[in-house]
């Protein structure tokens, strides 16, 4: 097997499936691949603000073990020997888990999150704990500089944000510092960095993946999911991390099979386009979205102008995030250590969030029943509904979000709505916009429909090249 110098950039940017083929055929050494990524994490990670801790010792141990097992004929499958990173809100035994925040920078747990354990069982190699917005953005940060590791930068243009709160997973995956990563989403934290970094990010159905060992922001909204360089890889990773867990009562054992078994005479996919989803967005976002619809139309029946239910999505999700977040992080709020948070709005946001009235929180939780019914009724008619992942490209690092692109918003509130009802979403790159920054299209579907969304997105990526583009990083 070749050493790390022989690991070409083509291999570093390859998909998991491509790397796995080389590893399975004993043409690529997991040790060499791991060393090559460790090298990039060390040299390039700081330029992106993407890395908190490089886990060299653990990575070398896991890589050596994978290499030995494969040599001994005990090949475990497509993640065996594949290096990955996790958002630094997943507990790792004996390695700091900082939640992106100064008050927790020395926090060390003595156990591994279930997702980390499952990936180890699949033979994957943990190479890094990746940067994130402090406390997963729960206190309402308003600019990119909201982590004790500094702002996350997209490798497509270092003056722009990588998105949040899974900033490190997005940037590190896009810049080939890891083969794949694990992010988390409460409301938009996978979809946004996936769009801003030009990677494929999957927010699974609530309950699909155990959150044991993950920082809790909102117990009824938090999800963990893969961020990869293509949709197909997201399927491979989700298959490894999905499933019931006695340590997380919300995680259930619903079957997930990837690739989705398809009948030979299966009807074409039916895809709905949300009305108004490309109206108040940047011109390039609209243009790229319309081009994506043309591609999708080659293998799917497209129905335009699908109306989205008008319900109080924003007020409900903000009330829940505030109430649950203020409770989950009550120790931090009452310690007075919020003043150590990087973003000024995070320094006071927890106090305001603590004043949400109990009846308002319960009202919000009661609204989720009718919301689930309304969206399930809508989504039952389609394999997927599509919209631009975000209405704009990544905002400049030095501007507050609300001042970055004034007058540009988005369409229907797909992100808060989808998170409130627990449905899956998948963002994949679909072109470039202002300042050559990536744009994305998101596929949303009925709960437990990840395999269908992955099939559609994979078909889209078979017909396009956007996901194969490499960022101009490191800059010359």
């Amino acid at each position: 097997m070749p050493d790390k110098e022989a690991v070409s950039e083509d291999i570093l940017y390859a998909s998991i499936r491509e790397q796995a083929k080389l590893i399975g055929d004993k043409k690529l050494s997991p040790v060499a691949l791991t060393e090559a990524y460790l090298d990039r994490l060390e040299k390039l990670g700081p330029k992106l603000g993407a890395v908190v801790t490089i886990t060299q010792d653990l990575a070398r141990k896991e890589a050596a073990q994978a290499e030995k097992e494969i040599k001994d004929g005990k090949y475990k499958g497509p993640l065996h020997g594949i290096p990955y990173g996790v958002k630094d809100l997943l507990a790792t035994d004996g390695i700091p888990t900082t939640w992106g925040a100064e008050p927790y920078k020395d926090q060390v747990f003595d156990y591994d999150a279930t997702v980390v354990k499952k990936l180890r069982e699949a033979g994957a190699v943990l190479v890094a704990k990746l940067a994130m917005v402090e406390i997963a953005g729960g206190f309402g940060y308003n600019n990119a500089d909201a982590s004790f590791t500094g702002p996350g930068r997209t490798p497509w243009n270092l003056d722009n944000w990588s998105g949040g709160s899974s900033s490190g997973p997005g940037a590190a995956t896009a810049a080939a510092l890891v083969s794949f990563s694990i992010g988390s989403e409460t409301s938009g934290s996978i979809i946004t960095p996936a769009a801003y970094c030009g990677v494929s990010g999957l927010r699974p159905t609530y309950g699909r993946v155990s959150r044991h060992g993950a920082m809790a922001l909102c117990w009824t909204l938090d999800k963990l999911g893969p961020m990869c360089r293509c949709a197909d890889d997201c399927g491979l990773v989700l298959a490894a991390i999905a499933g019931a867990d006695p340590l997380d009562p919300t995680a259930v054992g619903k079957p997930f099979t990837y690739p989705e078994p398809m009948m030979e005479d299966a009807p074409k996919f039916k895809i709905g386009v949300l009305k108004g989803s490309a109206t108040n967005v940047q011109a390039e976002v609209r243009k790229n979205f319309e081009a994506s619809l043309k591609v999708l139309g080659k293998f799917a029946d497209i129905e335009e102008d699908v109306a989205f239910p008008n319900m109080p999505w924003g007020p409900v999700i903000s009330t829940i995030v505030n109430a649950e977040g203020a409770s989950a992080l009550r120790d931090l709020i009452e310690s007075g250590d919020c003043k150590k948070l990087k973003s000024v709005s995070d320094q006071w946001g927890g106090y305001a969030a603590s004043m949400v009235l109990a009846v308002d929180y319960l009202q919000a939780m009661r609204q989720r029943g009718p919301m689930k019914k309304a969206l399930d009724e809508l989504y039952s008619r389609y394999d997927a509904l599509v919209a631009p992942s975000r209405g704009t490209v990544a905002s400049p690092i030095d501007k507050d979000f609300d001042k970055a692109y004034p007058g540009v918003g988005g369409g229907p509130p797909v992100i808060p709505a989808g998170n409130l009802v627990g449905q899956p979403a998948l963002s994949v790159p679909n072109g470039f916009g202002e300042n050559d920054l990536p744009t994305g299209i998101q596929f949303t579907g009925r709960v437990w429909s990840e395999a269908r969304l992955l099939s559609i997105a994979h078909a889209y990526q078979q017909a396009t090249e956007h996901h194969k583009k490499r960022p101009p990083f490191p800059p010359p």
């Binding site: 409301s187 934290s189 008008n310 924003g314 007020p315 009330t319 320094q347 006071w348 989720r368 209405g391």
Partner: protein, 102 residues
């Protein structure tokens, strides 16, 4: 969590914008004990802001008090907007208590 640029409800956003634009240097909803507040949202926000001061004492960042009050106003307003659609008495919150241990 991502900060969403997506509009939620147009009305919600418009009202929030009005609130943001309002002068916040002094408690705007202050009322005498026998008066009904002209602006119940502002009065509730002011009362909750005072409750926050009482609750968090000297760790509350006084220099950000106006921001805190403004944020609490938004939360009170969210409570108003969640009254619709109308819920039935039997519409339970979307979580369930389980008596058995996990």
């Amino acid at each position: 969590m991502s900060t969403s640029h997506d509009p939620t409800r147009r009305e919600f956003t418009r009202n929030l914008a009005i609130l943001v634009a309002a002068p916040l240097l002094a408690p705007s909803g202050a009322i005498a004990a026998d008066e009904k507040p002209a602006d119940p949202v502002a009065a509730t926000a002011d009362a909750l802001t005072e409750a926050a001061r009482a609750r968090f004492g000297n760790i509350l960042p006084e220099e950000h008090l106006n921001k805190i009050r403004e944020s609490i106003r938004g939360k009170v307003l969210s409570g108003q907007f969640m009254k619709k659609p109308k819920l039935q008495n039997g519409d339970e919150p979307a979580f369930s208590f389980r008596a058995d241990l996990p």
